[in-house]
């Protein structure tokens, strides 16, 4: 399997020249793969890239600010509120000040009252959490069903399919990549992936000529299944792979490849 890695070269002026292009994401696929292989082991190039990225981040600060249409702010806030409503996490209750209650005259009665409140708190919290989990499960089932329906549609429409297999880091995993002729964004479904840590994501990569290009984060559909509409077309790609990355994803692969498939 082509895992997008190649032999690292010794530092050279030519490689150093690529650092600016790498920071501006202006390298072609071959140069990206070449520089990326060298970059990890070269302090000089890592420093250069870090400095150049800092410069690149400043460039848009010189643009003349533009005002949006007045409704944009309202639309955004409505979306954010919807997110909060959907999360529907149980509201934490204030702890009961047991010590203060015990200090009053009706000590036994207050203690019983406090215990009742504590029990009510626990039950409320339990129901709230159960409700939250159920909502999450329903949402994930909907994602899984939507993805299955899309795959069926794509296959019925004559879409191309490829299988992806788990690597040594996820030997039980497998997946299906479908190119729907009516949609430029391929659909990726992977099942039996190992559980992720809280600060981790699965990220898809389209690899062309040894250069991995980020293709989007996978969305959890069931406990072990994930789906994604890839952000990249498969034109000129030879491999699609999924890696474990920090939450939110990376610009270049940093974690192990868990599934991959040749196109």
């Amino acid at each position: 399997m082509n895992d997008g890695r190649r032999q690292a070269e010794q530092h050279s002026e030519e490689l150093e020249e690529l650092a600016a292009g790498y920071a501006l994401e202006a390298l072609d696929a071959d140069d990206t793969a070449r520089f990326h292989a060298h970059f990890d082991g070269c302090d000089r190039c890592r420093d250069l890239v870090a400095g150049f990225r800092g410069i690149a981040a400043m460039l848009p600060e010189t643009l003349t600010p533009v005002s949006p249409s007045p409704t944009l702010r309202d639309r955004l806030l409505a979306e954010a509120r919807r997110d909060l409503d959907q999360a529907a996490e149980p509201v934490p209750l204030a702890p009961i000040p047991l010590d203060e209650r015990r200090a009053t005259d009706g000590r036994a009665q207050s203690a019983l009252w406090a215990l009742s409140l504590a029990a009510l708190f626990a039950v409320t919290l339990g129901f709230g959490y159960l409700n939250y989990r159920l909502q999450q499960q329903v949402a994930r089932q909907a994602v899984a069903l939507d993805a299955q329906a899309l795959v069926l549609q794509a296959v019925a429409a004559g879409g191309r399919q490829w299988t992806l297999n788990g690597t040594a880091d996820a030997p039980g995993a497998a997946g299906l990549l479908v190119q729907d002729p009516s949609n430029t964004r391929p659909l990726l479904m992977i099942h039996d992936l190992p559980p992720l840590g809280q600060q981790q994501s699965y990220q898809a990569w389209v690899i062309a000529g040894g250069a991995p290009l980020q293709a989007g984060l996978l969305e959890r559909a069931t406990d072990t299944a994930y789906v994604a509409r890839l952000d990249r077309s498969l034109d000129s790609a030879d491999t699609v792979a999924v890696t474990v990355e920090p939450a939110g994803g990376s610009h270049a692969p940093t974690g192990p490849i868990v599934v991959a498939g040749r196109l």
Binding site: E16, E17, L18, A19, A20, G21, A23, L24, E25, A26, L27, D28, D31, F39, R46, D47, V49, A50, G51, F52, R53, G54, I55, A56, A57, M58, L59, P60, E61, T62, L63, T64, P65, V66, S67, P68, S69, L72, R73, R75, L76, L77, E79, A80, R81, D83, L84, A87, T184, Q199, D231, S233, D235, P246, A247, G248, G249, S250, H251, A252
Partner: protein
């Protein structure tokens, strides 16, 4: 940002109020269409809201983080809209090395003024090369084809331009981390 990471709606409003205009300016500069640029801004702020844990203080300013999200989304949109093998037609102000609209509007802050002054030290060709990569999302090869310059010249110009900016602005720029 700590409040945003706790899903505080007020913090989200503050984030938007502080940074939306420059985010829209960047998106518009890249995609060249106001409606599409607003879509990019919406996607950017929702991504910031939903994935605020991906921001790390040590890796740069909040504005840089937001603008990086916006740039990637805008360029992705540009690439999806661009048929394979065809280069995007950029706004002339992006490729015209004599364009001064951006430079003339530089009084907003001392920081901005410093960056503008540093950009002015570049030759027109160097600035054009950097802008085609940053705002146009073009690779060395695509810039070479676009400008009819040898590939080696494009690579050299980009390196020289970024070196000049790095030296001029070293005290303003926190390193953005060795990896993206």
């Amino acid at each position: 940002m700590a409040l945003l990471q706790q899903r505080d709606l007020g913090a989200f409003e503050t984030l938007y109020d502080r940074h939306h205009r420059v985010t829209l300016a960047l998106a518009y500069r890249v995609v060249g269409d106001f409606e599409a640029a607003e879509d990019v801004v919406q996607e950017t702020f929702l991504a910031a809201w939903r994935q605020s844990e991906t921001y790390h203080h040590a890796r740069g300013r909040v504005r840089s983080w937001l603008l990086s999200i916006a740039r990637h989304r805008a360029i992705d949109r540009l690439r999806r809209a661009r048929p394979p093998g065809q280069l995007v037609e950029l706004d002339p102000s992006v490729v015209d090395p004599r364009a001064t609209d951006v430079l003339e509007a530089a009084e907003e802050s001392a920081r901005r003024d410093r960056i503008v002054q540093a950009l002015k030290t570049l030759s027109d060709e160097q600035r054009q090369t950097v802008e085609l990569a940053y705002y146009g999302g073009l690779t060395h090869k695509e810039i070479s084809e676009r400008t009819s310059l040898p590939l080696g010249t494009v690579k050299g110009r980009m390196r020289l331009a970024m070196d000049k900016l790095r030296l001029a602005l070293a005290d303003l720029a926190p390193d953005e981390g060795g990896r993206a």
